[in-house]
Symmetry: C2
Subunit: 134 residues, 2 copies
Amino acid sequence: MDAGTARRRLSSARVGHLATVTATNRAHLVPCCFAIEGETIYSAIDAKPKSTLALRRLQNIRSNPAVSLLVDHYDENWDSLWWVRVDGIARTADDAVERGRAMGLLAAKYEQYVAMPPPGPVLAIDIGCWRMWP
Amino acid sequence: MDAGTARRRLSSARVGHLATVTATNRAHLVPCCFAIEGETIYSAIDAKPKSTLALRRLQNIRSNPAVSLLVDHYDENWDSLWWVRVDGIARTADDAVERGRAMGLLAAKYEQYVAMPPPGPVLAIDIGCWRMWP
């Protein structure tokens, strides 16, 4: 898979899988909606800011910002399987301008966000490397 | 989601997402086929035993056996989203009897394995806890 195909597949995927590492070095994994701009991925925390679901992800990236986001395609014809993974460094998009921009990107990709803006912070992942298969 | 639904959804999912942690505490993430029996999940390494893809996962579980496997359902109606995650301890199924049994379970779930038995080791994940949403 070439880099252009990898970017196109990642950009258009409706759901990704985000792996973070807890402070006690255990893997933590959640599905998430996301949008990409340049070499940054944005993902809103759909859960309320103080909920357990939101806190776990935020705590993890504070103690260890190295994260991994995977999108993949499953097909019963195993010759058609593929996946694209980006490894990067996560942070919360605290700057109001960047957060607004990210919310615009997310709402443009997911109309669900237009009616129901996510209440929590926005995660930004600055991509360090792309991996793809095959 | 009750425990029975979670088990049924996990069991019938065609693909899961496996997160491991590298020796340098970075998240690593791959899609994988798997089968469940009791509280153990089996997943064959499809890549050749000495390939980079296979080695990375095996090295990770040797240095840190705590892994996480997620299955999820995406739907444009966000009221229909769900996921099931099991956190557990991974090992290779080195015992010939257990490996044979695991291969039988995998071939029963995926007919692709009947024609094309996976060349690599079989991972066993002993489930420590189940998480599900909603």
